[in-house]
Point group: C2
Chain length 162, copies 2
Amino acid sequence: MASSTSTGVGSPCGACKFLRRRCTQECVFAPYFDSEQSPAQFAAIHKVFGASNVSKLLAQLPVHLRCDAVVTVAYEAQARIRDPVYGCVAHIFALQKQVAILQAQLMQVKAQLAYQATLPQAANGGSDGDRVLMQLQVMGCKEEPHHHFGELHAMAQRLMRS
Amino acid sequence: MASSTSTGVGSPCGACKFLRRRCTQECVFAPYFDSEQSPAQFAAIHKVFGASNVSKLLAQLPVHLRCDAVVTVAYEAQARIRDPVYGCVAHIFALQKQVAILQAQLMQVKAQLAYQATLPQAANGGSDGDRVLMQLQVMGCKEEPHHHFGELHAMAQRLMRS
């Protein structure tokens, strides 16, 4: 039961409390889930991954790496609860989009810098910079949205074909 | 058994073949896992998430969103098999680091552009650009590695405290 550990002293860990099972001294979850607030956090992990799968995952890792694994598993679980379709992959898509926008901006500003360096001082004004940006936009270096849904469907098609 | 569907015609889907169970016409996995190559792909999903959890996840989604969910779950599962500690969160950290580097580069080049615009033409050379970059580096705008492990341990500490 959740009301005691195997030694009869103290509370079960948050995972065992949620699972309503006896918490032993060898419990792989105990160092990472306390009795008071962690049962709710563990609930997301159990719903998405299953306690048994996470237990096996942790058991195969050296002790010093388990805390990082718990944190990343908890993050993925919470993301999947919030967004059942994309989970934390939504965060990856958002970051990929941000990288693409920053790369385009950097290329624009570098081109503007190179162009400005070639101008006589009198022409070194904002309007030339604007002209370079316009040229870059004509060349296709615009801040287009990153169409990750297209990529996703390509992935899906590969998955279903293979 | 895996040798036939409920109708006795055709093969079971890749998920049911892996799970060695009867594949019915209502099987939630059948549209996304074929019989030939998908059992191996489903194995990773089953190992990380459990077939039952993924089945419940898909069943709660409208049909038109299930393919995207299967693709993202498959991606997360494969990432966790490859990297049991960080899974696909390693990709998030790498992208966050890339964003931080690009933001620093963009800030440097924008500052260089602004500085160059204020210079007399004769001084508008590479050595001034280098001086600006040096000034920015002195100001702390260097391309430092993004210490995600520090962030992760902060997350872990919050998780364990809460």
